[in-house]
């Protein structure tokens, strides 16, 4: 229940009620309403977020480029399974307005929160607005890849931003991806950090198609050397010139199997000093209904965060199997009697992992690749040329329908990637592109869509086909 007094209380109440009314109206008019209530409420009372956040027992934040939504949703699921009521901005609206909207929805008209814990996915560019207000108890940083560069210019900007914000948050416990030198750089000044990482075992299938960020040592500027790469710039790196190297992970994933399920062994290390090896380690086998190597990092991050928050390994292992991914994260449908998977794509590294995963399927495939260039997608679509579309020059690919406002750019990219022109169809509109897909006689369908089109595809596929729950 609200503890502050006087004038601010009045504005708090007006803001909360305005926000809740906006959420109700959004529902009535079938508007998705993942940000609008927050926008309105913040207009009334700009400090609303800090007041709402202060009331929770625990605030956990997840930021980084890829895997935020999956990691945050999975963590919220694990916390709920352990008996803690948890709210999260599960639809991926991760700017300040989306965070506020999720919390407003968690509060009753009587000014009481329903949940004990808030798990907040926060956009890399919004950490400056959100973190000082919510003061997270635990912060997970997943990775830094090239993403929507026209919105935030360079990666360095985001990394420096997080570094600056963390200076003001000495109490926040960090949980960092040890395998990403850029993440480690962002958190290196902080005293309370633990690390998660993946042991070497993944064979790099694309070779030269890979994008590697941050190849320079943040301390001395020399090129980093690697013992192995997992994907992108994630791997076991060290600086040949100074002492900067991958920290020893407190949470390590090994023996990864990616077949019908994703399976690996989680080692939770107990160690004496920062750079010591584990003196002992608890191990547990984890298994999830997900695919794709990149999801190992997401599951690992969520399991590490849950462990840090006191969830038992038994609970983590048993509830992982019940988890179903969110919209556009390998969402599954049946369309024209064939399996159809919908994936969100937003940057080269994520796209490469999606392509590798879909190519492992044995049947013939037909694809829709839909790219928009609205604010939510990133206005600049040049990143398509950093992705390894060369993989699609493959006999198992029967046809690719290029769609979205940038259907032409996708078509040109595919042509230069070596996809034969007779396998490329241009269909900018959403519904006709799905119909075009349905005309293809292939064993499986795959739809890869950028942010502003993925919800449309999800909605239409529910109507034109059916969702697999």
């Amino acid at each position: 229940m609200l503890r502050s007094q006087g004038q601010t209380t009045v504005r708090f109440w007006i803001a909360l009620l305005t926000g809740k009314s906006a959420a109700l109206l959004c529902r009535l008019f079938r508007h998705s309403g993942t940000s609008l209530p927050g926008v309105v409420a913040l207009k009334v009372y700009p400090q609303l977020l800090s007041v709402l956040a202060a009331d929770y027992e625990r605030i956990v934040a997840v930021t980084g480029t890829n895997g935020k939504t999956t990691t945050a949703n999975l963590l919220a699921h694990l916390l709920r399974s352990s008996g803690s009521s948890t709210v999260n901005n599960h639809e991926g609206a991760n700017m300040i307005s989306g965070v506020v909207t999720a919390l407003i929805k968690d509060w009753t008209m009587l000014g009481e929160r329903r949940s004990q814990i808030a798990v907040l996915e926060v956009d890399e560019g919004s950490v400056g607005k959100v973190f000082p207000s919510v003061k997270p108890d635990l912060l997970v940083v997943t990775n830094y890849f090239r993403d929507q560069l026209d919105r935030y210019s360079d990666l360095d900007h985001n990394i420096n931003l997080l570094r600056r914000i963390l200076d003001e948050l000495p109490q926040t416990l960090l949980l960092l991806n040890a395998d990403d030198p850029l993440v480690v750089t962002a958190g290196c000044d902080h005293s309370v950090a633990s690390y998660y990482g993946v042991a070497s075992e993944q064979k790099d299938q694309t070779g030269d198609c890979e994008i590697r960020e941050g190849s320079l040592c943040p301390d001395c500027g020399a090129f980093l050397a690697y013992n192995y790469y997992n994907y992108g710039q994630l791997g076991a790196y060290y600086c040949p010139n100074c002492t900067f190297r991958r920290p020893v992970p407190d949470f390590l994933a090994s023996e990864i199997q990616d077949d019908d399920y994703l399976e690996f062994i989680l080692h939770v290390c107990q160690r004496k000093g920062r750079n010591e090896n584990c003196s002992t380690a608890d191990t547990v086998r984890l298994r999830a209904q997900m695919r794709g190597f990149y999801n190992v990092y997401n599951i690992l991050a969520a399991a590490a965060a849950a462990t840090t928050l006191g969830v038992s390994q038994q609970t983590i292992a048993s509830s992982l199997m019940e988890y179903a991914p969110a919209a556009g994260r390998m969402e599954k449908f049946i369309y024209k009697g064939r399996p159809c998977t919908l994936n969100l794509i937003k940057n080269p590294t994520g796209l490469n992992e999606v392509l590798k995963t879909l190519l492992r399927g044995k049947g013939e495939k037909a694809l829709v690749i839909a790219i928009n260039d609205l604010a939510g997608d990133g206005r600049d679509v040049s990143w398509l040329w950093d992705a390894g579309f060369e993989m699609l020059d493959n006999p198992s690919i029967k046809m690719i329908v290029c769609s979205g406002r940038r259907a032409g750019d996708v078509g040109v990219r595919l042509k230069y990637a070596g996809v034969p022109p007779n396998k490329i169809i241009i269909e900018p509109e959403c519904k006709p592109s799905i119909e075009g897909l349905g005309e293809q006689d292939a064993g499986e369908y795959h739809i890869l869509a950028s942010y502003t089109s993925v919800f449309n595809y999800s909605k239409l596929l529910r109507k034109m086909g059916k969702a697999v729950e």
Binding site: R146, L149, D150, S153, D154, L155, D156, I211, S215, G221, F223, L374, R379, D380, V381, S382, W383, L384, W385, D386, R405, A407, G408, D409, G411, V412, R413, K415, Y416, P421, I424, I426
Partner: protein
Amino acid sequence: MRIKVCHLYPDLFNLYGDQGNLLIFCRRAQWRGIQVEVDMVSFGETICLTGYDFVFLGGGAESNLSLMSKELQEKGRFIVEAVEQGTVLLAIGLGFQVLGRFIKTQDGAVLPGAGVFDLYIETGMDRLVGDILLETAVDLQEEMKKTSVVRETPLATLVGFENHAGRTFLGKEARPLGRVLKGQGNNRDDLSEGARYKNAFGSYLHGPLLAKNPHLADILLSRAILRQGGGKLTPLNDELEIYAHNVIKNRLVGGYNN
């Protein structure tokens, strides 16, 4: 026919998909039966560029600017030498900026450039960001008509996406790539975009530049093969590229770009 291509600093200048330009250049050569040999020259390596027919330098993170300026104080003369001897060069974004005379940064420092182009850069407070449409320089348009054997209606425009804090001011020796019809260009004020000197081309356009501008790719290619005694290029089917070009062009000319 065989041409030699150099990808300069692929390790530092690899942002915004610009290396797609190199792929496009190479494919358009190979589709015409021209063999291409590509070398990569990394940061800190010794370079001699006069033996190359085409050199490409892409965009990079601005945090690498001072590092790059230092490297070019030593190595810039090799690039100048090659351009003076007729090597074809394409430089994009930051790669374009470091080839000017100097760069004035936000904090007032002046970093020397390689001096390929007669221009200087001032780093502005805000970034110039968005889709951009140029009317191609008239002499280039004339050259484009002659480049291919047949092209019924050659594109008279160039499209791309700009994203830069630097403002470029051209000197007398540098000619622009085109005139800004929509967007910001070199410095938002004088309607110029990019720079040209001999066979060297510089531009802020990402997309990458050559993806939706196949006619510009062919100018670079035909100038490169000319060095090896090559003649006219055989025409290619550019339907997809021209479609993608026109989608952006029509959107910008039509004035709606939500």
